[in-house]
Symmetry: C2
Subunit: 540 residues, 2 copies
């Protein structure tokens, strides 16, 4: 045996499982009087937050919750929701944040599939929860999170703040025995079939919490506005990042432009995250008020590449936008369009092109690559060959809950298969061309709906654009464009098509343009499945 292996093993002095709970414990000890949460007129310090977390974890234990029990939460971005990111793992349990926009049937499926033991429900969502529980098989303990701003509705016999008042705020936070222990369960929004339950662990949550800060150049004590739903990959691990950086969590119940702007001003928010739609919303509101932001606000955006026009307007009001990329399976963002100072000197359009790329791996992710989905061979770094984006490293999920077939398929060949189709540029940056299911195959040629949308966005009358495949007798599929016109602008179908033909190979151009509102999720992702449904309905 090597001399470096003799009598040099792990022991309690030199090995502790990595867990974001350690980050909370440390910040509560060092900065107990610093503000942790702001919510309207209510403020709490890191000392108070840690006390509430300890008290609720204690009560979960008193209620019989044990390691690997599932605790589901249906709540908007309130301090209580934030507390869950710590209190549930501190009781050894697994946090399942549920998308508040889901219908009761989908929620019932999730409650059953996750074998939910406790279900926390914000008062606003009592009706939805009631309906979900009525059709679910599980009978979890139900706890209402009352809120002066929400209706006075109640569900179940237990109340969150009552339990906290009863709990031991000095109980030590229970760290996991093993950093591979599950910390969270998040269901993918799966547009077809039932959603899959993504299981993540303490090790990955810890590393991505630090990774967010490292990539975003986060200073100590940031003031972070919660425009990103905490039910999206646990707020991209930001509850834990904010604990590591002893920051302020400014909580808001709704993503509403005036509310965002008011909070930005009032609390001197330094950082926020969200889909490009949030950026657009915020920029539009600032423009409406006729003011630039009183200070630079940094934003990470993901879910779609931010359109160039939106980026330019955002810069004009003082926003500094970073494009990140990820999926629930990789803890939220695990890739970043890492900026190069040289790019500052480029013309605006080229800067936007640079910024629209999904980029490179986070330092805490081992590898981001574009590969042939079958052979796993990396595609050439030529900016044109399309392959599938793959992830490998410590911020990749444990797998899908009770779905070994899906887990094995996702991890085939030692990489996580994202389902996103992309090109790999010479400088190692990846750029998404499409989701696998969003690619349009017309006459045997692949058409990137994103490329067509990019062209549409360059037309001044286009506010929002989405391109999907319509069945076509001769070509198999053909691209159809949905367009929301920009305020006060007008264009005809023929004009839009002509604009596309001027800038795109003709086979890629939409054969139809449908004007009207485009359906989006709560975070601004365009619901293409809904557009496809509309096309099918029209066809029938």
């Amino acid at each position: 045996m090597s001399i470096y292996e003799q009598d040099l093993g792990r022991c309690p002095a030199n090995h502790v499982p990595l867990s974001p709970l350690s980050l909370l414990r440390r910040t509560a000890a060092v900065y107990p009087h610093k503000t942790a949460t702001v919510y309207g007129e209510q403020q709490r310090t890191w000392g108070e937050l840690a006390g509430r977390v300890a008290a609720f974890a204690d009560q979960l234990t008193q209620l019989g919750i044990r390691r690997d029990d599932t605790v589901a939460v249906l709540a908007p971005n309130t301090p209580a929701a934030l507390e869950m990111a710590f209190a549930v793992p501190a009781a050894g349990a697994v946090l399942n944040m549920i998308n508040t926009r889901l219908d009761p049937a989908a929620i019932a499926f999730i409650l059953d599939h996750g074998e939910t033991a406790v279900f926390l429900v914000d008062a606003e969502f009592v009706d939805t929860a009631q309906a979900a529980l009525a059709s679910a098989s599980v009978k979890p303990l139900v706890i209402t999170i009352a809120d002066p701003v929400a209706p006075a509705a109640r569900i179940g016999d237990l109340d969150y703040d009552t339990l906290i008042a009863r709990g031991n705020a000095d109980a030590p936070l229970q760290l996991p025995d093993d950093e591979w222990q599950a910390i969270a369960l998040n269901y993918t929004s799966g547009t077809t079939g039932n959603p899959k339950g993504v299981v993540t662990h303490h090790r990955g949550a810890y590393l991505n919490a630090l990774g967010n800060g490292l990539e975003w150049n986060l200073p100590k004590h940031p003031v972070y506005l919660w425009t990103l739903p905490m039910f999206h990959c646990n707020g991209w691990c930001f509850p834990w990042t904010l604990a590591a950086y002893a920051g302020v969590n400014v909580c808001i119940r709704t993503v509403d432009a005036p509310l965002i702007l008011d909070n930005l001003d009032r609390w001197r928010v330094s950082h926020l995250s969200g889909a490009p739609i949030v950026l657009n919303m915020l920029t539009t509101e600032a423009e409406r008020r006729g003011t630039a932001l009183p200070h630079t606000v940094k934003m990470t955006t993901a879910g779609a590449a931010p359109p160039a026009a939106v980026l330019a307007r955002a810069a004009a009001i003082g926003m500094d936008v970073t494009h990140v990329y990820g999926l629930t399976e990789v803890y939220g963002p695990a890739a970043i369009c890492a900026w190069h100072d040289e790019w500052d000197a480029l013309p605006e359009a080229e800067r936007a092109t640079c910024r629209a790329r999904q980029g490179v791996n986070y330092a805490v992710l081992e590898e981001l690559s574009v590969r042939d989905p079958d052979t796993l061979a990396p595609v050439p770094r030529d900016g044109t060959t399309i392959g599938e984006i793959m992830f490998r490293g410590n911020v990749v999920m444990k797998g899908y809950l009770k779905n070994p077939a899906a887990t094995q398929a996702a991890f085939a060949g030692g990489h996580f298969h994202s389902g996103d189709l992309a090109v790999w540029h010479e400088d190692g940056y990846v750029e998404i061309r499409d989701r696998s299911k969003d690619i349009i195959i017309s006459g045997g040629e692949n058409i990137s709906s994103i490329e067509v949308e990019g062209t549409l966005y360059r037309h001044p009358a286009v506010g929002t654009a989405a391109v999907v495949a319509a069945p076509h007798e001769r070509w198999g599929e053909t691209p159809v464009a949905f367009v929301e016109l920009a305020a006060g602008r007008h264009a005809t179908e023929a004009e839009i098509i002509a604009h596309c033909r001027a800038g795109l190979a003709h086979f890629k151009c939409p054969t139809r343009v449908i004007f009207g509102d485009i359906p989006k999720t709560s975070t601004g992702k365009i619901q293409k499945f809904e557009l496809r449904r509309r096309l099918t309905e029209k066809a029938n």
Copy 2:
């Protein structure tokens, strides 16, 4: 079995051993053209650095080096020394950076104890290495690192740059199979008996690399000047931190005030580290030149609390000083005097008092505490009860090489015993009162030599002060002060003693004051063992 443990194990897609090599690989891929090292007129990019590292690791493998072989290095802070922080672990081997101030006998001991397989020697240290090898039992492969600035001396048949030219710069960096694998061996300076070999691992090196950045609020692309010897705990893990942050390593062969100032200006250095003596040296030189620094320079200092007067002068020329604390056994600094904004409003003397405390655990260290060394009970947080500083967490060494008794003693009760005696303040900050061996016990009372030195430093004529125990017939021990007068100042023994009696309990006051030069290590640590030797010699 829990549903969260079924079919959700580790696999190549979702688990990679933590290693700082991943940080190099990522920065070389994302920022291949950014400057990695600057050394006089020579500059190399991260792409070039990674290529050289790969080539040398390849050559080490060709030379028969295998996992857990020891590669020793005797070199000042050159780019080659920096490359070793990556190339040696990339070959699976263990890096042993040797203090260049050691005498040949001490180096021979280290070479033998570490069972050195390869010994790299900077041309400046060929004579020392020759002498060490003459008395050592091991016969390592010896490689000379030639340098245009160093003498043209050679040792052995191999030459570093020739090997690199021969190596495969595209060879993939070999990551460890296990993050617990040893990455480095560092010998403590042990003032009594033989030095102990501290073994650290890839996991801890990775975490402390990130920890340095997090605690110091490091921005991306810092410009870091190498005033801290790389042989001190592998430069406190900063080679790996700089890789994570894609920074610039400004290398210099000697810690020389004009050279430091010239490099600060020329490269717009943003960050550096070192003992308070380096801070003092730098400040004095800037004052001599009659200029403040052209931009703010941030410095972490450790090894001794920075004296208030030095801090005030440093602030005046534009230095922003952070006090950190650690030992070789905890990868360098693992504690920090984390600053509170409120302290900015305090009077200068109080700010200095705040900053002189060793502080709190790094976020990546689980726990820093002050405990009774026997019972391990935490001491009260009263700022007066003295206990021993203890560390627990992932940035604590594997243990001492081939010394299970010392390892067990160091880890007794599940904490690493630092040997530093301290008080614990109400706010959780620790403050060192003394090394165990530096405490003076007079008439049964403990006297903190640091407290007495603090008083001495408040006398305007005192430039440097050190207090050690002298044997005393009646009291057992008595404090004796060694004083280096400040330039152009004068004081008598009686005046100094009177000054102490005005500010200290009488039993703590020095009974003798000896004026003259005070011996220091290469990094400015006062060599108290040498002062004790002088006292003993005088007594005999």
